[in-house]
Amino acid sequence: MSTQTPDTDSETEQPSSTSPQERRMAEKQARKEQREADEAAAANEIQGETVELKVFRYDPEIEGKEEPRFDSFTVPFEKGMTVLDALIYARDEYDSSLTFRHSCRQAVCGSDAFFVNGRQRLGCQTQIADLDGPVRVEPLPHQEVVKDLVVEMDHFYDQMESVDPFFDPDETPDDELEEQRQDRENREKVKLSTRCIWCGACMSSCNIAAGDNKYLGPAAINKAYRFYMDEREGENKRQERLEIIEAEHGVWRCQTQFSCTNVCPKDIPLTEHIQELKREAVKQNLKFW
């Protein structure tokens, strides 16, 4: 066979004016039309994979919602979809009265801790693909429900604020531009504890916190840990902090259930911190003997 004939034929068969660029544009156009057609079809009937959501509903003011119930929503599934995405879809497309807190969509604001398929999780941090359907979304247990998935957070905030959650050194450098030194080990020590986003998941998962309203709870104790362990604070404040930590409803109430540690979306070793403070309290008190 001659080597001269080869593919030229087939090449000329293609309209020679088509550059790869134009071909792609044409393809893009075709894909766009396909997508639009799909969307139009989807408007009537959801095609493809769907997720079934069962969402807790309650509103003290609205007839028919005073008695808590579960509503089902069928939402089209997309790769990468989170529980929060699905809730937003359900709200915007089906029922605009569906109520839940959310803001950042990236696990930093701590607004959207829900009870999803039997576990406290952040809606925005939970991939639907990782869950078994139907996905059951309830408000955080052990907290009063305000409406739908919104729970009363005041108690949680009160506990957080009861541990003097602020840096309070005995003295700071006089010079406005002089910093306090902190060695790296000490920063590492408190690092994990500073990651808390106040989502309340831990508190909701702890059975002791559920029974004993005065219990500080894992998040607040962790906050106390963050400052107690910070070497930049002085001896006096340390002593004050110890008193808060070892009060009757402080660390002693923890029964090492570990559920707080299990659910914390920021992977803070809460139980470990609580235990460390218990030992610290014992150590400090033994010194008095």
């Binding site: 766009k32 990468g80 605009s96 919104v150 050194p169 910093e179 920063r187 500073t194 986003i197």
Partner: protein, 610 residues
């Protein structure tokens, strides 16, 4: 009615810093915020806080970098003040216990950042904003400053003088999300708006769902001009499904961008033959979109950011949080697959026009943080410059509002009768504004008694909300919002063309018409987010319109603002800010010259190349 000396609207970095400053001046301060302070979007910032702290660095250099970064659309007095105050503010944070990353000797670490001539970015791991926000909130708790959380501010109470420059602000009207109660908040000394960003005007953004530009729209309708609204920063690497930011660190470590054909397009198509993936944000963002527009995008939507070749060890060591982000928010394992990314709205350089003390043209009304525009970032914000802005100008606004003695400001504010005006030739503003006095603007307040002004404003707000709730049928705000976001992303994105911008303005007009029939399906008074979002959508319409108006007026390429028909910076024509005034429902666009004479140096516009 609630009463305090200073009312701070917003509990993000700027609001908290302002409240602390006012409290230190001895004022009785309250923070009114629609989210609990720790939920604010300041917590999302990852990178760092710039300040000239070390020997060998100077505030002048920081100011110079900032001005250059702004593409000479910053005002020198703002830039200088900022660079001078930043070090003290950062050390102040340190004194408040912020867990900064440290050097061996125990001092605060600083790292290099894009556009900076010196490594002056302080940081706390990959979650600087989180730590800054929490440290500030802790100090607020320590001082016992009152916080009204989950109270949505929907109006400022302003006297009804014709000229906005003559108006006085006496407080705000807010609404308790939990109970539905609508109440006036009288501010004896001042109201400080610190409501953050407006990313929700776009459908793809790194901003939070709560970033709806409320403060900007509220101040705007009360008569304060919006400045440089067209200057919107887009970040090149955000996850397509949620807009979560993938930090520059990935590209810094050697991450590579590919298109759907597997080509390393930054080089192959000549977008940045030297720097490749590490070119500046706007260059990379435009390159990505060009790829997608020319049909080489994956699913016609995004491109790939690949870091697999860096090896598991290096990735887990330096980029571990990126693995989590890709996993949690996109369902992608960065060790196994490339990560999908596309450009997303990131930051608004423009906002409520204020001077160095955070004052607007309305007496007693201040603004600070992302919602404000002191003209610090001009055409483009440098990474790590927003957080110190919150501190510097938050503190200054707080102090001034509480009555501290401060020098005469050098920056002017407020509508000017003789300013150069622009007619865009496209209808904008509130449909039917001519006939009816526009809603939301200065309420008719014959009374001059401050409390009566607040009460009257609260009353109009009650009526407005009543009307929204009573309507049994109509348009759902979510549809209006979705259409608006879509049009903004389509037309007022990284690429801006005259025809598209005009289209966007027409779409906004259309949306405004539809919004007049909006109704709230949820009739409950308890935690009615449907109502809240409906009101927010209104604010988005106003800010989106101003963004587009500015973009249409500015016929040049400066900073983040790129115009297809005008591919170069025009210093002789456009060394000026665009301002949009509400003008009781008939928005007007006008200009004010940029101030380039600073304390120490007069900045000479130079070509911005790195």
């Amino acid at each position: 009615m609630y009463e305090h000396d200073v009312i701070v609207v917003g509990g993000g970095g700027a609001g908290l810093r302002a409240a602390i400053a006012a409290h230190e001046e001895g004022a009785d301060v309250a923070i009114v915020t629609k989210l609990h302070p720790v939920r604010s979007h300041t917590g999302a910032a990852e990178g760092g806080i710039n300040a000239a702290l070390q020997d060998g660095d100077s505030w002048e250099d920081h100011a110079y970098d900032t001005m250059k970064g702004s593409d000479y659309l910053g005002d020198a007095p703002a830039v200088d003040t900022f660079a001078q105050d930043a070090p003290e503010e950062v050390i102040q944070l340190e004194h408040w216990g912020m867990p900064f990353s440290r050097e061996e000797d125990g001092t605060v670490s600083q790292r290099p950042f894009g556009g900076l001539s010196f490594p002056r970015t302080t940081y706390a791991g990959a979650e600087t904003g989180h730590h800054m926000l929490h440290t500030l909130y802790e100090q607020v708790v320590k001082r016992g400053i009152e916080v009204y959380d989950e109270w949505y501010v929907s109006q400022v109470a302003v006297t009804d003088e014709d000229d906005p420059n003559e108006r006085d602000c006496h407080g705000v009207v807010a609404w308790d999300v939990q109970s539905g109660e609508i109440a006036g908040f009288r501010a004896r000394d001042g109201v400080i708006l610190a409501t953050g960003g407006l990313g929700q005007a776009f459908d793809h953004t790194t901003n939070a769902v709560a970033n709806t530009g409320d403060g900007v729209a509220i101040a705007y309708r009360a008569g304060v001009p919006m400045e440089d609204m067209e200057m919107i920063q887009f970040h090149p690497t955000t996850l397509p499904s949620t807009g979560v930011l993938i930090s520059e660190g990935v590209r810094g470590e050697g991450g590579i961008l590919y298109n759907s054909e597997g080509e390393r397009f930054m080089f192959e198509y000549g977008y940045a033959t030297n720097d490749g993936e590490l070119a500046s944000r706007d260059v990379v963002a435009r390159a990505e979109l060009t790829e997608v527009q020319e049909g080489r995008g994956v699913e016609d939507e995004y491109v790939y950011l690949d870091m697999r070749h860096l090896g598991e060890e290096r990735i887990t060591d330096r980029l571990e949080n990126i693995l989590h982000l890709a996993r949690d928010f996109e369902g992608v394992d960065g060790l196994e697959e490339p990560m999908p990314v596309k450009p997303g709205q990131h930051y608004a350089m423009g906002g409520i026009e204020v001077n160095e003390h955070g004052e607007t043209c309305i007496d007693g009304l201040y603004a600070a943080g992302e919602c404000a525009c002191v003209s610090l970032h001009g055409g483009n914000r440098l990474g790590g410059n927003a957080l110190p802005e919150l501190l510097v100008f938050g503190a200054r606004a707080g102090r001034h509002a509480a009555g501290a003695d401060m020098p005469e400001p050098k920056i002017e504010t407020g509508p000017e009768p003789d300013a150069e005006r622009e007619d865009l030739g496209v209808p904008v503003g509130e449909p039917g504004a001519k006939e009816a006095a526009a809603d939301g603007g200065a309420v008719e307040n014959p009374a001059s008694d401050p409390k009566a002004v607040v009460e009257a404003t609260a009353e109009t707000e009650r009526e407005r909300i009543e009307t929204l709730l009573e309507r049994e049928d109509g348009v759902n705000h979510a549809d209006v919002r979705a259409d608006l976001q879509e049009s903004m992303t389509e037309n007022v994105n990284v690429f801006r063309e005259e025809e598209n911008l005009k289209q966007a303005l027409r779409d906004i007009q259309d949306a405004r018409e539809r919004y007049q029939d909006v109704y709230v399906a949820d009739k409950s008074r308890t935690f009615n987010t449907d109502l809240q979002h409906t009101i927010e959508t209104r604010n988005l319409l106003d800010v989106a319109e101003a963004i587009t108006m500015g973009a249409l007026a500015r016929e040049e390429f400066r900073g983040a603002h790129w115009r297809k028909e005008h591919q170069e910076r025009k210093d002789d024509e456009y060394l000026k800010h665009t301002l949009v005034s509400w003008n009781d429902g008939e928005p007007e666009l006008w200009y004010r010259p940029v101030i380039l004479e600073g304390d120490e140096q007069t900045y000479e516009p130079k070509v911005r190349s790195y």
